[in-house]
Every structure is written in C-alpha cells, then in structure tokens.
Subunit: 144 residues, 2 copies
Amino acid sequence: MKLSKKSEYGLRALLELTLVHGKMTLQRHHIATRQHIPIEFLEQILLALKRAGLLSSRRGVKGGYALIKPPGEVTLGQVIRILDGPLAPIGCVSKMAYQKCGDCPYAEHAQCPVQHVMGSVRDAIAGILDHYTLDDFASGHRKG
Amino acid sequence: MKLSKKSEYGLRALLELTLVHGKMTLQRHHIATRQHIPIEFLEQILLALKRAGLLSSRRGVKGGYALIKPPGEVTLGQVIRILDGPLAPIGCVSKMAYQKCGDCPYAEHAQCPVQHVMGSVRDAIAGILDHYTLDDFASGHRKG
DNA sequence: CTATTCTTGATTAACTCACTCATGAATTAA
DNA sequence: TTAATTCATGAGTGAGTTAATCAAGAATAG
C-alpha cells in the first residue's frame, strides 16, 4: 500500500508545471531544485509523462517542459498509473489492468473473500484519485 | 499501492482458522494445501501472527495453530499492519506509524498537497480495513 | 560553431519480496 | 525411552524493484 518516490516526485513536478501552465516552460533543474528532486531521476519521470502525452518539451538554450493538457482534465490517478502502474492492491480487482490470480483456490468461483474486500479498497482509492485533478491539487482542496 | 503475497496468504490462512474457531486447531500443512500456500513461507506468516498475539500454537504430533482472539474483534487492517506495515501510502500521513518526510519542501509548513490527498486515501483505506473483521471476511460481506 | 538543454539507453547499489533450507525444541505414540 | 511428528528460529537465496547515476547523442538559440 505504498506510493513510490517516483510518483511522489512526479506529482510534485506536475504541481510546478501546473502553477505556470499557459504562461511559461520550466527546465528540469528549476523543478529539481524547487522540489528537491535528484535531477537525473526527475528526467526519467518527465520523459515518462511526456511519452504519456501530458507534457511537451523543447531542447536547447530556451528549452524546458510544459504541461499540454488542461490541469482540470488530468487526474492524480492517471499520473500514478503512468508512473507506478495500477492503483488496485491486487491484480484480480484492477479495472484498468485486470490480471487473473493464478494460485488462489477461489480464482474460478469468483467468491474469493480477499477479492471482495480488496475490490472495495480499490474503488475507494480510485474514487479519490480519479476525481482529484491537477487543478484541485494545485489549489490544495478537493473538487466536489 | 499493493498488497503483498505475505498479507494475502496471511488473510487466507486466517480465513481457514476462523472457520474452525473454537472447534479445532489446524496444522500448517492443512492450511498450506487447502489455500495453495508454500508451506515454509506460511510458517513465517503464522509465526508472525502468533507473535502479534492472534494465534496460539502447539508442537508435536497433535499440534497445530488456532485463532485465540474472537473473529469479530480482529480486523483486516490489524492483520495487514502486522504483515505488511502501515496502510498509509506515505509515512507522513500514517496515523499508526507516522514518519516525517525529509526531502519534501513542504515538510515544515504542513501545506503539502501530496500529504493532503494521500491523507484522504489513507483514511479511505483504513476506513474499510479497520472496520472489516475476520467474521465479516469469513461470511463474505461487509459489516454495516 | 558553441553552449545549453533535452533524449536515450545502460548501469548501479541497495533493498524488498517470496521463498527455501538447515537445525533445534517440544509433544505424543509406541 | 525412542522415534515420529510438528512447530520454532534464523540464515540464506534468486529474482525483481526502487531510486538513482552515468555517458554519449541530438536539437536549439545566439
């Protein structure tokens, strides 16, 4: 039940990019120093977010990264899935990346008690993270 | 955001022990074969649960493990904390095992946006798992 | 052309996960 | 009391993940 440093750094980096959205680009070393993130690790994260279509980038002297999606349309759930994988505690209750559990004796019967509880946990987590946007995140309070 | 095999096995083992609670003890190999759990790994888990005060055990020919707490008083949250550690996605929002985040630039100001969301996530997870007992678990549905 | 900045891919150390093994100690049945 | 059974403890292991770090390349501005 843990959020990786990768996702935490990713969220903090996106926070910086959200604050200047539409106004300017940020260079990785700005983000790194402002948010205390190791610059080379940050790089990997920004590139993953770029590959996923959230960021644009420019090389060279006036280069940097920018958020290209509207901050109100990007949820923390999306970001965490990009950087950490599925939100679900176990594969067999994941909705975006379902995986049948091989060894569970209840696997076939769909009456697995573990699956039942963890399904609620998944829904609770996704219920929060998939409705919490970068806008909410930057303004510090939850969307109704 | 993942539940370890250790916790999953632990919950499935406790399910077996709950079903026979007050009636008999179970030997590790019974639990292992019924729930498809590697026996040596199961051993570790059962011993951890014993050390935590949930189980009793007897050695020798008529030995085995038994649940000593009433199944209605043991929550899945307790079990997972024993086997996997804190439920919270990050240390700085854990209530049972709080840990100050060292590198976060918001650490001192308590206005950290990550902390804010992850606090709700923690509460949602704990809200489910700390109210879901072994009784609920064994009967397959949630306590009101 | 040169300095700057992003891009790519490889490499690393430390750690965790999921076991596995070996040995010892308690209990019971013969 | 001896042997078989079962739990107890601690160490060890291989695969994989996490959190970086490094090196070399490509685009851009001046």
